[in-house]
């Protein structure tokens, strides 16, 4: 290899590179970064190589870097001369042969093709590939790439990192050449200053100023250091940059060396990144061979060389003074500043340290100038930043965005939102030095200052997305555990303070903690932040301080209620299913008992946890399914159908009386306390049942004629046969609960009367008012709220509803109403303004409705109801919507378009949600929130009036049956504690010996599904659609439980 010494030899190298990049034959590039390799890219490469060899094909194969879309790996790019570069995704070694066969014939396999690149802006050069493949989208049209601006990552994934010629071909070392020729080093420093380039390692100090210090330092021996000790968990952009494009780093450093008069440089790179070390070593060797490094850079008489030092695994070495100590052969313990490294750094010499990514911006700035650079980014933070988007997000990978881009663009537009059904709740930025930013603040533009205002930092650009399955207390604990183990131990606040903080946080996650400790943690955090010696300690409390600021309620949950809603802190829960259940049913217990054939014991276990097991076994939203650990193996255990089986087997059998007696035997002795429950819905019935078991006198006041609330009046017969509900109510009655029907609280009996006559009162009157949409035409005949319709059908007062029915809404009530209308012989169409996956209704119910023949019309917002002169409905006019910006629930807002359509119909059912009866609420004299719900203590459910508790929809707004029951159960426990002064609730459910249902290895069988009536049969009657599990199925299903309740 001859050194490059003039423009001629420079151009020769460039042409050689171009011939490799765009040869006369097709070229296939396999993405061989570490993440590609982790996904099998090596096998893919080998398969290509072998097949090319075996068939003697004239196809060039190259190992390129990573294109950033980690979730689509392995990525392969294919270039057929004259055509665009096509990116293929999820390529497996088995695909190699057919790809080659296609490419050989000038085709691209359509199933693997993702997008195409017709021309690429390497910033330092433009490379034109060609036009063609009209069926393929441009790369920038892919949501993951849309809006990205690749300055730092300009070459990543397109050129071979092991080949300096290819780098030169795309304009590499041209900036260096220009700078050397221009021979005005101070100009370059001015340009870097004018470009407002700030350190990309996190602190954001102006790079140009640092260079100026170094240039001014008179010492003849000084150092430039590249900090490639990337240690932030969750951030891997530096690894990728070096692995994919090592020469850009070298070029940036050489330019700095020349303009600051420095001859020695060091790259301090993590030993955990072997591939990066390997590629960088190779790049340095090549640069030396070409005379780009060495005694006379590009023949211009400037001396510069680069050494590689492998860090040995210490996060604190990211701190510049610790890094210097490490280079000097000491433990990486930071040193106080002053003196600053620019004055006295490595071996006491002036030293400038910049992060990897900072260096990647140098060549573009030197070539295109500061004005071009500042076009991108925000006013204070110019340019782009590479972020690693990972965690609970659909599209993971490295994204390079202009600084100042709002957070929600990252999360929803590029990241594609949460994984599965889970909703995102926070983003952690800046690694262990950063903080958690809650959903409500996703509008925040991402730059150095705004993140700092939120208590976080930019850091190296890690963005770890957290969803509802992540516990923020655990996350705070995790980060402190990390910094605790990475603390160098030199200064007291960090060494001992973090140990104390970890102690406190460990306690919280185990259910040992109190508010005094919470206050102490806050004080300690501030103290560590303000007094620690180095950046590690000063920022280590950020994850705690931000979670305390933004997620205080989760800390309260752990400390006061001893609950972890996310189900992460396993000492606080029996099992993930129990934790997710609003009633906290001991699910492993009833599964274990039934598995052993102990049906009656299983029933006792179930009924003590849940007084409406047959109803909830049919209509519960079953959050347990989402949390079941079996889900990671095949499918969740069908817990809901098993407890329905258990409940049906007893409630609907002649064991009923005997079992009622057994449950009644558990009643605690009479206490003499009188309690009242307002509302006989799920919450009220549940509270009444437990209050009775606890020995209190219970009277339930209900405005309607029968008990059950929504279960009785809103859920249709075909989902929940009323005779099943009646047995449950009967059981509750036999526990001694008295019912007063036709007695609405406030009109028939006042709160004042209740106060006088009872020792404690539980208000659970539900949400019975249908929300009304302001829509022209709602005054027409046959426009009816869903709840009123369903209630009318349930009570027999409504028996027909026209021939063609349009139902507006996407919740359970909408689906129930449509299916009920179907059973009355009507045609039903559900009109919903968002997409199917966003319907709040239970998925199985939507599917069933569709099978039965309900039509679903999505992205349709009601516009007006068209009537005839007689006041009859003729049609529903709808405006088609499209999905626009993301709202704060992480769903995209439906935006009306100009397109209008008609749904011909003669009746319209409005199912847009229920609200609280505001007249009652206002009349109660209790403190209310703006939406009319009662203000209660989150943990005790006490209202603003002594003795009065509230739960269910009256405090949450319309929710679902199980949530309401959970509140009923909690209220009974809290009321009992207040009445009796001791905690007695646990006494109710004792008496189950764990050995009775010992764990055994789980079986491998698939999830058991209950039989259903054929759709054609269903619509002809009210018969129950889901038949339920057979005994054999139920018992087999129990064997699938992994028994998370058993701890090693």
């Amino acid at each position: 290899m001859t050194p490059i010494a003039d423009i001629g030899s420079f151009n020769a190298a460039r042409e050689a590179g171009m011939a490799k990049l765009q040869p006369a034959a097709p070229r296939i590039g396999v993405g061989m970064g570490t993440c590609g390799r982790g996904n099998g890219a090596e096998e893919v490469y080998r398969a290509f190589a072998e097949a090319i060899e075996a068939h003697g094909l004239d196809i060039r194969l190259a190992a390129v870097g990573c294109f950033g879309a980690c979730s689509e790996e392995p990525l392969v790019n294919v270039w057929i001369p004259g055509q665009p570069l096509v990116i293929l995704r999820h390529v497996h070694s088995a695909d190699a042969a057919r790809i080659l066969a296609d490419v050989h014939q000038g085709r691209i396999p359509p199933d693997l093709a993702w997008c195409k690149i017709e021309e690429w802006d390497h910033i330092t050069a433009r490379i034109r590939y060609g036009a063609g493949f009209p069926e393929l989208p441009q790369w920038s049209e892919i949501p993951f790439f849309h809006g990205q601006k690749k300055i730092v990552l300009r070459n990543c994934g397109l050129i071979s990192p092991d080949d300096i010629d290819e780098y030169i071909a795309v304009g590499g070392y041209q900036a260096l050449y220009k700078v050397l020729i221009d021979s005005r080093p101070e100009m370059v420093i001015e340009q870097v200053k004018a470009a407002k380039l700030r350190g990309r390692g996190g602190a954001g100090y102006a790079t140009g100023l640092k260079w100026e210090f170094l240039a001014k330092a008179k010492d003849p021996s000084k150092y430039i250091v590249c900090n490639a000790d990337e240690g932030d968990p969750g951030a891997y952009m530096n690894r990728n940059e070096i692995e994919s494009d090592p020469h850009s780093l070298l070029e940036g450093m050489i330019i700095c060396g020349y303009v600051t008069g420095t001859q020695q440089a060091i790259v301090y790179v993590r030993a955990e990144y072997p591939l990066a070390v390997h590629r960088l070593t190779r790049a340095v060797e090549q640069a030396r061979e070409y005379g780009i490094l060495g005694p006379s850079v590009l023949g211009r008489g400037v001396k510069f060389d680069i050494e590689l030092v492998e860090g040995a695994g210490a996060f604190v070495c990211g701190e510049e003074t610790a890094l210097i100590a490490s280079l000097e052969g000491f433990s990486g313990r930071p040193r106080p500043r002053p003196p600053f490294p620019a004055q006295k750094g490595l071996d006491g010499k002036p030293t400038n340290i910049n992060n990897v990514e900072t260096w990647y911006n140098i060549a573009p700035i030197a070539l295109k100038g500061p004005a071009w650079f500042t076009e991108t980014g925000s006013a204070r933070s110019a340019g782009t930043k590479v972020f690693s988007l990972v965690g609970k997000i659909r599209n993971t990978g490295l994204v390079e965005m202009p600084l100042g881009t709002p957070l929600k663009t990252f999360i929803y537009d590029i990241g594609g939102g949460g994984v599965g059904e889970c909703s995102i709740k926070a983003v952690q930025t800046g690694g262990p030095s950063g903080g958690c930013i809650p959903l409500e603040m996703f509008d925040t533009p991402v730059d150095y200052e705004t993140l700092a205002q939120l208590g976080s930092i930019m850091g190296s650009g890690g963005m770890v997305v957290m969803d509802e399955n992540n516990c923020m207390v655990d996350i705070a604990r995790y980060f402190i555990e990390f910094t605790h183990s990475e603390s160098c131990g030199k200064c007291v606040p960090c060494r001992v303070g973090l140990d104390k903080a970890l102690d406190v946080l460990n306690g919280f996650t185990k259910g040992a903690g109190n508010s005094a400790q919470l206050a102490l943690l806050d004080e300690l955090g501030r103290m560590i932040r303000d007094t620690s010696l180095c950046g590690l300690g000063q920022t280590a409390p950020n994850p705690v301080l931000t979670t305390l600021r933004h997620f205080r309620y989760e800390f309260d949950d752990h400390i006061i209620a001893r609950r972890c809603r996310a189900g992460v802190c396993d000492s606080l829960a029996l099992s993930p299913c129990e934790n997710s259940c609003p009633l906290h049913m001991n699910i492993p217990r009833f599964l274990g008992l039934l598995k052993r054939g102990r049906l009656e014991d299983a029933f006792e276990s179930v009924i003590l946890d849940n007084p409406l097991p047959a109803s909830t076994g049919r209509v519960c939203q079953h959050p347990c399914d989402m949390r079941c650990r079996r889900l990671t193996m095949d499918a969740a255990v069908n817990m809901r159908d098993v407890h329905r089986f258990i409940a049906d087997s007893i409630l609907l059998s002649d064991h009923f009386d005997a079992m009622v007696a057994r449950v009644a035997d558990r009643k605690l002795p009479p206490t003499g306390k009188k309690t009242a429950v307002a509302g006989a819905g799920p919450a009220g019935l549940t509270a009444a049942f437990y209050l009775a078991l606890l020995g209190h006198d219970v009277t339930v006041f209900e405005s309607k004629r029968e008990a059950g609330g929504m279960l009785r009046y809103a859920i249709p017969e075909y989902r929940l046969p009323k005779h099943v509900l009646e047995r449950e109510v009967e059981l509750i009655r036999r526990m001694g609960v008295k019912f007063e029907f036709g007695m609405p609280v406030s009109s028939a009996i006042s709160l004042h009367d209740l106060d006088e006559q009872f020792d404690a009162v539980f208000l659970s009157i539900g949400t019975w008012k249908e929300s009304w949409v302001h829509l022209p035409g709602t005054e027409l005949k046959n426009v009816i709220p869903a709840l009123l319709f369903l209630e009318g059908v349930a009570s027999g007062s409504v028996s027909q509803i026209g021939r063609r029915v349009a139902v507006i809404g996407g919740g359970n009530a909408a689906v129930d109403a449509a299916r009920t209308a179907l059973r009355m012989g009507a045609d039903a169409t559900i009109v919903y303004r968002r997409e199917r996956k966003e319907m709040p209704a239970i998925k199985e119910e939507v599917d069933a409705a569709e099978h039965e023949g309900v039509k679903l019309q999505f992205l349709s917002a009601p516009h007006r109801i068209v009537g005839d002169p007689k006041g009859n409905v003729r049609a529903l006019e709808i405006v088609k919507t499209r999905l626009g910006e993301y709202d704060l629930t992480g769903r995209r807002k439906p935006v009306p378009t100009a397109e209008v359509a008609r749904v011909e119909c003669d009746a319209v059912i409005l199912a847009v949600g229920e609200t609280i009866d505001l007249d009652f609420a206002r009349g109660s004299g209790l403190t209310l929130r703006e939406n009319g719900t009662f203000v209660v203590d989150r943990f005790t459910l006490e209202t603003s009036r002594p003795k009065f508790y509230a739960g269910g929809d009256v405090i949450t707004g319309a929710s679902n049956v199980s949530n309401a029951m959970g509140y009923g159960k909690k209220a009974a426990r809290r009321m009992d504690e207040a009445l009796m002064g001791v905690k007695r609730f646990q006494r109710l459910s004792g008496g189950f010996d764990a050995s009775e249902y010992e764990a055994e290895p789980a079986t491998e069988i698939a999830r058991q599904r209950p039989a259903e009536l054929a759709p054609a049969m269903r619509v002809k009657s009210d018969a129950e659609v889901v038949v339920g599990l057979t005994r054999g199925q139920a018992s087999a299903e129990c064997g699938r439980c992994l028994r998370c309740d058993v701890r090693a």
Binding site: P233, I266, Y268, G311, G313, V390
Partner: protein
Amino acid sequence: MTLPTAVTPGKPDPEKCAFIDGVIARSTGRPGSLLGILEAVQENNPRKYLCSSELRYIAAKTNTPLSQIFSVTTFYALFNLEPQGDHTIYICRGTACHARGSRNLLESLRLDLGIKEAPDEGGADKLTLTTPDGKFTIRTVACFGQCALAPVVELDHRICGHLNERALAREVDALRQENHQ
């Protein structure tokens, strides 16, 4: 006090000394040389650790105080002062891996290999555990930078992404089989 380093006094064998001399000669005077020397010597050791005779030899040859060498080798996570198992399994404890359940992986692997809880010293958050038969070493790493593959485990330098407990157990079984052959 039981001291692992006091058990192997004396000088490393001549072959090893020659190797160490070579490494030192190549790196003397270069920045970061001590770390580089220690890394190379550990890599050269068949059990991938630094024994005290090696440490003493390096100290003498590089004119570095013994206590400084010990400080360095215990400060950086990369260095081992104990022999490592035939197979090394690294569990990534980075944030993305944590958010996707790497703690459960670590726990189940520990139970699977029959290793009792780590001793308090050194902290459970940064651990190196070797099975009594010396077949497996479990280690944690702060972050592999493989976050998009979370949760990630490295088995004998092979990265495996998107693992669950069952898949990890299968991988470990495969290593065990390898051992038997």
